[in-house]
Symmetry: C2
């Protein structure tokens, strides 16, 4: 009942809905999966993308789940100005150093026609305003007013917002000049409480990645080189993409008293003494969509984990005559309603009946490329049998089964959960396959330089994640980055045995994760 993908090249090898395949050109494959699923597109504004309805509804689902998790851990949402006065950015030296090279600066507040009739900026501002790249300084200013006494602490705030970082090389979702994110900002009376909060939110992110996105992650701490500008410690979750590169999927920063001192967040403690608060910040962004895409998608396009899919089941009426059309569509609608009465992952099952007058095969491939977990095709014969022809996005497009309607409806929750778990297990097995414990410098260099399969790929694929001992010198890490494009992705929270650093011969407390990264 399905037709072959329209976009696949004619030739001897298996046809795929996405051209090129992952093996042929991973970077271009990524762009084409986005295009095939209609997630987003580039805009006329350099480095800024348009998030199209399918991509945005995925983000809405992510927001809803994360927002619930933030509220369940005691946080409240608020909203702070888009603009940050230049003087605020300068309050924390490392912070401004980290962001000064890539920020959008507002300098004027009106447009006027010049003598040539062309509009140009006028009304120069006394102090330039930075479009927020992150909000520690402007939120710190508010916190300095809100926090007076130990009774005002902890202060647990989250903001959903857009931010701008003027990146020179951009890629949709992964690195864009403007992106959407949430940024948590909290203030605490003691160092211990702030550290506890930092770790709590890291764990929230890890749970979200693993249980909702079906993306296995390594929880760890960043080295000083990769730390957030102004933080004392940065913790992260790192995932492996299918080109074996790492993607930093979320970060949680312990900021010590750096920003509290810069912004004047002070309180009177129980003994009547003035103290600076201890602060944290943590964030995830629309980058998660890029990570989700690169973890699960295949050469037929996007693959969505059922828990976050905007549509979990699509029903495709297949008919030739107008007479068939009416009764097939009616049948499909009644199946849809039965499915919507079922629940999965705390919400009713999301079902679409695709009634568009287009070729059945085109419609099937359209939904495959969009990543919908379960497809049902219903033709006149299925209707007579009271059975559904069911395909799963985690299996080959042709691998379809006829299942009695009542059996299918009753087990939809279990089916979706089986897909969800299967995606997680497959991603975890992939990461383990391409993670290697390495104990010599020579093997390390070979692992990251020798091209792997395919031999003639435009971007040769390296080994993957390397677990080596490391004695921690920042300069050594810099040199390896310059030589191989490889960095310490994190020092895992789950500690290994101590050993010897293969680069320096010095003792090392535990293995760290090295990889190329997005």
């Amino acid at each position: 009942m399905s037709s072959k993908p329209q976009t696949a090249p004619q030739g001897a090898k298996a046809k795929t809905a996405i051209t090129p395949t992952r093996d042929e050109n991973y970077g271009e494959w990524y762009q084409q999966v986005i295009r095939g699923a209609d997630l987003a597109e580039n805009s006329a504004v350099r480095g800024c993308m348009v998030i199209k309805p399918w991509g945005y509804s995925l983000w809405e689902n992510m927001q809803r789940v994360l927002d619930d998790m933030f509220k369940a851990t005691g946080h409240q949402n608020a909203y702070f100005p888009l603009f940050i006065p230049l003087s605020f950015m300068q309050k924390e030296a490392a912070h401004v150093e980290g962001f000064a090279k890539e920020c959008a600066v507002v300098t004027h507040h009106r447009l006027e026609a010049g003598p040539d009739g062309k509009l140009r900026p006028t009304g120069e501002l006394e102090e330039p305003l930075i479009v927020r790249p992150t909000s520690e300084t402007i939120i710190g200013d508010a916190f300095s007013r809100w926090v007076q006494s130990y009774r005002d602490l902890p202060l647990l705030i989250n903001q959903w917002a857009n931010v701008v970082r003027w990146e020179m090389r951009t890629r949709m979702f992964l690195r864009t000049a403007e992106f959407l994110w949430q940024e948590g900002h909290t203030a605490h009376a003691t160092k211990e409480e702030a550290v506890e909060e930092t770790m709590r939110m890291l764990e929230v992110y890890a749970t979200f990645a693993e249980e909702w996105m079906a993306v296995p992650v390594i929880r760890g701490e960043k080295t000083a080189n990769e730390r957030f500008p102004g933080a004392e410690q940065t913790f992260c979750i790192e995932a492996m993409m299918q080109d074996r590169k790492a993607l930093q999927a979320g970060t949680s920063h312990f900021l010590g008293q750096n920003f509290a001192k810069a912004s004047g967040i002070e309180f009177l403690d129980q003994n009547g003494q003035h103290q600076h608060a201890w602060t944290t910040s943590w964030g995830v962004s629309t980058r998660l969509i890029g990570g989700l895409l690169m973890t699960h998608s295949d050469d037929d396009g996007l693959v969505l984990p059922p828990k976050l899919a905007p549509v979990q089941v699509v029903i495709l009426p297949i008919y030739r005559s107008d007479e068939d059309r009416a009764r097939v569509i009616e049948y499909c609608r009644s199946v849809a309603n039965e499915l919507r009465a079922q629940r999965y992952a705390d919400r009713p099952v999301s079902v679409v009946v695709d009634e568009r007058d287009e070729r059945g095969g085109d419609k099937v491939w359209n939904w495959i490329k969009k990543g919908v977990p379960v497809r049902i095709e219903v033709g006149p014969r299925d209707l007579e049998k009271d059975a559904l022809f069911v395909g799963r996005r985690d299996r080959a497009p042709k691998d379809k089964q006829s299942i009695p309607r009542s059996e299918f409806v009753a087990s939809i929750g279990a089916t979706l959960q089986s897909i969800q778990e299967g995606l997680f297990e497959r991603a975890k097995a992939y990461r383990e396959q391409f993670t290697k414990r390495i104990d010599t410098k020579e093997e390390f260099y070979e692992y990251f330089t020798a091209p792997r399969v395919p031999e003639n790929a435009p971007t040769p694929i390296h080994g993957g994640f390397a677990l080596t001992h490391f004695s921690g010198e920042a300069a050594l890490e810099e040199r390896i980055k310059a030589e191989l494009g490889v960095t310490v992705r994190c020092i895992p929270l789950e500690k290994s045995e101590p050993g010897i650093c293969p680069f320096t011969g010095k003792p090392s407390p535990q293995r760290v994760v090295w990889a190329k990264a997005y």
Copy 2:
């Protein structure tokens, strides 16, 4: 059990939680209600406010309801760039004219230290970028790619976003340089469909205002003077505030083919002919919070309609001894859980038990100022009677009743609905009281100039809304605006009888609404 408000001045007149009262100084009363409810505060960035958790949770409730209404009418959310290239703004002449004088312009993309060590903007952009004041042009650009055939229409998109208009005189929620809003943008194959969409969304806004915010509104069309820059027709909902001024609470624009021509939104119709699409746009913003505040609040602070209140019921344990404390709190928690099992307006009743160790009276006044619809006070004696001491925010603070627990719990939905409806009826009666049909020029001028009660108020209050006939000359409307600060708020959709314009003696098809406005 309640104590007197702490902020009221000592004196002969009745004490109020907010100083000054509405009669004493309406503008300052507005600021103090925001402060007393902890809704928002001014920030260090000119004209930009910080929306604090209580204000933001009110906005979240508004968003949730509106978003559901938009989706139920077939719209999908998407996200478009924050920045608009200057050349895009110029595509529609009236549009750029309308926004050029108040826009934030990004001209540089990095900061560098000068010889004096101070950071200054560098990396000048080839083309300045405007921080979006509204998104017709950037969304039009995307639509020109998305729309190719009549099959792609209608295109029904909504965006939740921040926008910036560099207003010179700002006031929290009502007029801020940056504000949060939603902007709907749609494209249609025919004029009729676009007009129908424009009116459908106006009705969505009117329903939201009346049924959710409990704010009665007049649905109408704007005169040419008050039209959105670039629109063919602008429709609006107008509400009366307690100073008898009008507040435009939402607008829906029929844009004709103006923006379709400017942005090149073209499609092949069913006859294979190229056509320009017909577009609409419509929006409401955080300004709604200001309107809600000024409609219902009183001299004790914010009054929230139950359907949108972040907390619908607050329970205040009142005790003197530690022994009492434990059993009173336990009782309060069990009442809270019973209430949470009840539903009102499609969600579980939202309940907070205020267990903070503060003076009972302070806590009571704190929640009054926050506008929570129902307050319950529970002391040891109430507990013995198994009864609750209940106050309603739509009644005087001292007007409290003892109600048996089971009776109160069972009727909570009805109680909240009675408050919701009462607020609407009160606001409607107020508007009717201060709306007058006026048929002579003299009476019109007297209505808007003679100070009403109170005689010595810092801002003398004018008459209110005037319904007069009007023959429609733009110049006349301009002159009246210059003389009285009064404008035609709208030409109501609900038509009156035809008559004679009192200003020109010419025929007039119907009465229009004149008022001073925010």
